[in-house]
């Protein structure tokens, strides 16, 4: 193992194999232990069918030296992903589509005499706009009579958070950030409204399931119990029940407290100002032609679409799950495969999580992007969250190379709103201070006033 080799921090639980990177290329070692299952996946055409259906990451078998030769059967090189995102960064429909993709994969697998041996939401990634399984070693040969070993995991990773988002509060998706192996079912059962007990779907898969877990928490199951069998028909019935329970859940941004804000997202701009701002952003992006763009505070993605429209792989972050939901549903409808909308609070971005804090990457670890868009954002961070301008410049400096940033001055109506109920302690919040703070770390290439507005747009490059 050379110093450039690295076994990935999230890849240690499953003895079937593991991920490693060598000279910047990601590989997956398939272990001897898993050989029979891997061969079945490939020879049964299940692999080909899933890849054809955009449900499994394509890979190639390669003849590179295994990372752990004593255990190795093969080494495969999966198609690289553009960006890794996590379930606590997804909107409702993203998590639901990931859940339904998992069950669709299971149906394909059963047709080929295989089954999923895990159902982790972290095994799904959005690739070219669609949820796709990235763990090639998630399958095992189905043995008639066996129940689904990943039933608990599916309920904790998908069904419980979706039910909570749909029936209690959409912000409860953030429980996935606390509980790395999915939402504990007893907690979900307590937080869900009482009426969900009586439905056949959530009543059984969450409420009864939670009770059964509690009842058998300290009791070992008997030999007779562990030898119980489940017919294939029952297995398929269980999958069908999970599918319809998952599909029935719904959440609509309209009618929430965010309400119609997004139908009039640019109401504080005049039509002319908004169009001019769009024109300027397009012009700046056209000049830098970024391969990857992160839109920080993207709202429903109006400006992110400009970047994606130019062929840039775009991640559109917003704090509001309603805005992210709208952006995702629109992109799905338009088959926009370059856009990935995600929920992110930049006052508290995703941290590194899991065992040794190495299983899930922080947002910073997933940087840098080629270009950042920070439009109508600075006042939220500098005034609502009291972040001094030099610290903001420093953070953006660590996230990307190019920066398209909008300066929103104190006299702007949106800033006035933020200051209406508090003391103005922001004596350093002025355009000179902004240029000084950012000029220390960035070279300012362009500066343009937005017509019919007190705002300015800047194009900067990391020094």
């Amino acid at each position: 193992m050379s110093s450039r080799d690295q076994r990935l921090g999230a890849s240690f639980r499953d003895p079937s194999g593991f991920l490693f990177s060598r000279e910047g290329v990601l590989y997956r070692q398939v272990n001897q232990l898993y050989a029979e299952h891997y061969d079945r996946l490939m020879s049964s055409k299940l692999y080909a069918k899933l890849v054809e259906a955009d449900l499994l990451i394509p890979h190639e078998e390669v003849s590179v030296e295994p990372e752990d030769p004593a255990l190795a059967y093969k080494v495969i090189e999966p198609e690289p992903l553009r960006f890794i995102s996590y379930p606590y960064e997804w909107s409702f429909s993203q998590l639901q589509d990931a859940a339904l993709a998992t069950l669709a994969i299971q149906t394909f697998a059963l047709e080929s005499g295989m089954v999923l041996k895990d159902a982790s939401a972290y095994n799904i990634q959005f690739h070219h706009g669609k949820p796709i399984l990235i763990d090639t070693l998630s399958f095992e040969i189905y043995r008639e009579g066996d129940p689904w070993v990943a039933y608990r995991q599916y309920c904790q990773h998908f069904l419980a958070p979706l039910a909570l988002m749909a029936h209690t509060d959409v912000r409860l998706s953030q429980l996935l950030r606390v509980y790395i192996d999915g939402v504990p079912l007893d907690l979900a059962a307590r937080l869900l409204p009482g009426r969900t007990r009586y439905g056949l779907g959530l009543g059984t898969h969450i409420h009864l399931h939670a009770k059964s877990q509690k009842r058998y928490a300290d009791k070992p199951i008997t030999k007779e119990q562990s030898a119980r069998k489940m017919s294939k028909l029952q297995f398929m019935g269980l999958m069908d029940s999970l599918e319809s329970t998952t599909r029935k859940l719904s959440w609509k941004p309209a009618g929430t407290e965010w309400g119609d804000y997004y139908t009039a997202s640019s109401s504080h701009y005049s039509g002319a100002a908004f169009e001019h701002k769009k024109q300027l952003v397009k012009q700046f992006l056209g000049r830098i032609q970024p391969t990857t763009t992160w839109d920080l505070g993207a709202n429903t993605g109006e400006f992110s679409q400009l970047a994606a429209g130019m062929g840039s792989n775009t991640v559109a972050f917003d704090i509001d799950p309603a805005a992210v939901e709208q952006n995702y549903l629109l992109g799905k409808k338009k088959k926009d495969n370059l856009m990935l909308p995600l929920v992110m609070d930049f006052t508290n971005p995703s941290p590194a999580l899991g065992w040794q804090n190495k299983e899930r990457h922080s947002l910073l670890e997933r940087a840098p992007a080629d270009a950042l868009l920070a439009l109508a954002l600075i006042h939220h961070l500098a005034i609502s969250n009291n972040v001094p301008l030099p610290l903001l410049a420093d953070y953006f400096h660590s996230l990307g190379r190019w920066l398209v940033i909008e300066w929103v001055p104190k006299e702007d109506s949106q800033v006035q709103k933020l200051l209406a109920s508090r003391q103005d302690i922001f004596s350093g919040y002025h355009q000179e201070g902004f240029e000084a703070a950012f000029g220390a770390l960035f070279e300012i290439h362009e500066k343009a006033a937005v017509q019919d507005s007190p705002r300015f747009l800047y194009l900067m490059e990391k020094k």
């Binding site: 639980r13 499953d14 003895p15 079937s16 232990l33 898993y34 299952h37 041996k117 895990d118 095992e140 043995r143 009579g145 066996d146 129940p147 689904w148 070993v149 990943a150 039933y151 608990r152 995991q153 309920c155 059984t204 898969h205 009864l208 399931h209 059964s212 877990q213 509690k214 009842r215 058998y216 928490a217 009791k219 070992p220 199951i221 030999k223 119990q225 562990s226 030898a227 119980r228 069998k229 489940m230 017919s231 028909l233 029952q234 297995f235 398929m236 019935g237 269980l238 069908d240 029940s241």
Partner: protein, 68 residues
């Protein structure tokens, strides 16, 4: 060999099954699958019966399409 013998008896213990299915989850799953399995069978047959009618209707439409 030892592992193989065990796997013959219990679906809970298999070398490649690295997840703990959880005893409570394991048992409730069997119970739920028992209930929904029967319903699933009815659903599949119902779809088949419905499929027969839908197909014959669409066939009629196709036939109409080719008529002058």
């Amino acid at each position: 060999m030892h592992f193989q013998l065990i796997t013959l008896f219990s679906p809970l213990l298999r070398p490649q099954a690295y997840l703990d299915p959880g005893s409570g989850s394991f048992l409730i799953q069997l119970l739920i699958a028992g209930i929904v399995g029967a319903g699933f069978l009815i659903k599949v047959y119902w779809k088949k019966v419905k499929g027969l009618f839908v197909r014959s209707e669409s066939k009629k439409e196709d036939d109409n399409d080719v008529q002058p």
